[in-house]
């Protein structure tokens, strides 16, 4: 925070001098003492230059510190560098999240796809047996049909026991496949922390650069120009959809909007 105090002090020294010398300058010009007036101007210039050098120096130092803090590799793309840059590290971590979620989703889908036919096979078999059982209860069954049912029931019960076991194991594997949430959650939290840190550093860099702009009188054009969002490319999921008017928050909203368009 001492930096900030220094800054404001520097600025006020230059500004104070500018203020006090402005009227002095006017008096000198009015009285026709041009050489003295020029001397005042060059003094003002010297103070301004000095403040500018200090600000640029401070800006450069902060920039270097930020770069060092995030281990950004300035000497080429990390080839031979022992230390992974923080940004590279974050990229790696996010790729890990994509891998983990992809693996978990595929594992779950595999197990579901394996279990679904088992369930429908069991249902089909049970439906047939149910029909036969009804026949038996209504005493409509012939002896050889009964022998068949007897055998079939035996096979079915045996299969049911094995297949239920299989489905149970698949479900328990699906349960385990959700462990990615814990791991990816931790990774994402770390990366979120990094992003916040980078933002804070950038904000302080922008503030410093602002001081330089102030002294040099630089005005940036077009920065405030509204960025045209490219809806054509797509933006992915919207955050805080419930609080926004330009975004639908449910399928019902979509249906309402489409029906208002005559769908």
């Amino acid at each position: 925070m001492t930096n900030k105090e220094d800054n404001s002090q520097n600025m006020s020294v230059f500004e104070e001098q500018l203020k006090s010398q402005a009227s002095n300058l006017k008096d000198l010009v009015d009285s026709g003492d041009i050489s003295q007036a020029l001397k005042v101007i060059s003094e003002l210039n010297a103070t301004r230059d000095q403040s500018l050098y200090q600000e640029v120096g401070r800006l450069t130092r902060t920039l270097h510190e930020s770069i060092r803090n995030f281990h950004i590799d300035t000497a080429g793309q990390g080839a031979g560098g022992d230390e992974l840059s923080t940004i590279d590290d974050a990229t790696d971590r996010l790729s890990y999240v994509v891998d983990m979620t992809n693996k978990a989703a595929n594992r779950t889908l595999d197990l579901v796809e394996e279990s679904m036919p088992i369930a429908s096979e069991m249902k089909e078999e049970a439906d047939i047996l149910k029909g036969d059982w009804g026949k038996l209860r209504r005493r409509e069954m012939k002896p050889d049909e009964f022998r068949l049912l007897y055998k079939r029931m035996d096979l079915f019960l045996d299969k049911l026991s094995k297949q239920s076991d299989k489905v149970y194991r698949n479900l328990s594997d699906i349960l385990l496949a959700q462990d990615f949430q814990d791991l990816t959650g931790q990774v994402i939290k770390r990366v979120t922390g990094l992003v916040q840190e980078v933002e804070e550093n950038l904000v302080s860099l922008v503030a410093m650069a602002g001081k330089v702009d102030q002294i040099t009188g630089t005005v940036h054009e077009g920065l405030e120009k509204e960025q045209q969002e490219d809806i054509e490319r797509g933006e992915g999921p919207q955050m805080h959809a419930e609080e926004r008017v330009d975004v639908v928050s449910s399928q019902d909203d979509v249906d309402d909007l489409l029906s208002s368009l005559g769908f």
Binding site: N106, R233, G236, V247, V248, L257
Partner: protein, 128 residues
């Protein structure tokens, strides 16, 4: 509605393609192919063997909205029913999709019931 109709599912994420294909199979449609973006999908559609297109919006290469426009601009494909299944939820985008001639719009995350309802609605209109 012909349950044997040929469906093309276009999404850049393979898991989403699998989920949609599974849901379609549950609804009785087991004849579905996959493509990972508009550039891959368009030549497949141009073979003329597809009866229904289910596409995401946000994809690398050709997006879903561009694919939709390309389909509507193609004389052989312009009447192909198109269902958009996407995370894009801006009102402007839904309006743009409607103007481009989409037949249905489902926002992710979605349920099997919503998918069924939209497909039924699309083919009800076409068959009537």
């Amino acid at each position: 509605m012909d349950k044997n109709m040929k469906i093309l599912v276009v999404d850049d994420f393979s898991t989403m393609r699998r989920i949609i294909k599974n849901l379609l199979r549950d609804l009785g449609f087991s004849n579905a192919d996959e493509a990972d973006d508009g550039n891959t999908a368009l030549p497949m559609l141009q073979t003329g063997k597809y009866d229904f297109l289910v596409t995401d919006w946000n994809m690398p290469g050709m997006t879903g909205i561009d694919l939709l426009r390309a389909v509507r601009a193609d004389d052989n494909l312009k009447s192909l029913p198109v269902l958009m299944v996407t995370a894009e939820a801006k009102r402007d985008q839904i309006v743009a999709a409607a103007q481009a001639g989409v037949n249905g719009y489902v926002v992710k995350p979605f349920t099997a019931a919503v998918l069924k309802e939209k497909i039924d609605k699309i083919f009800e209109r076409i068959d009537s």
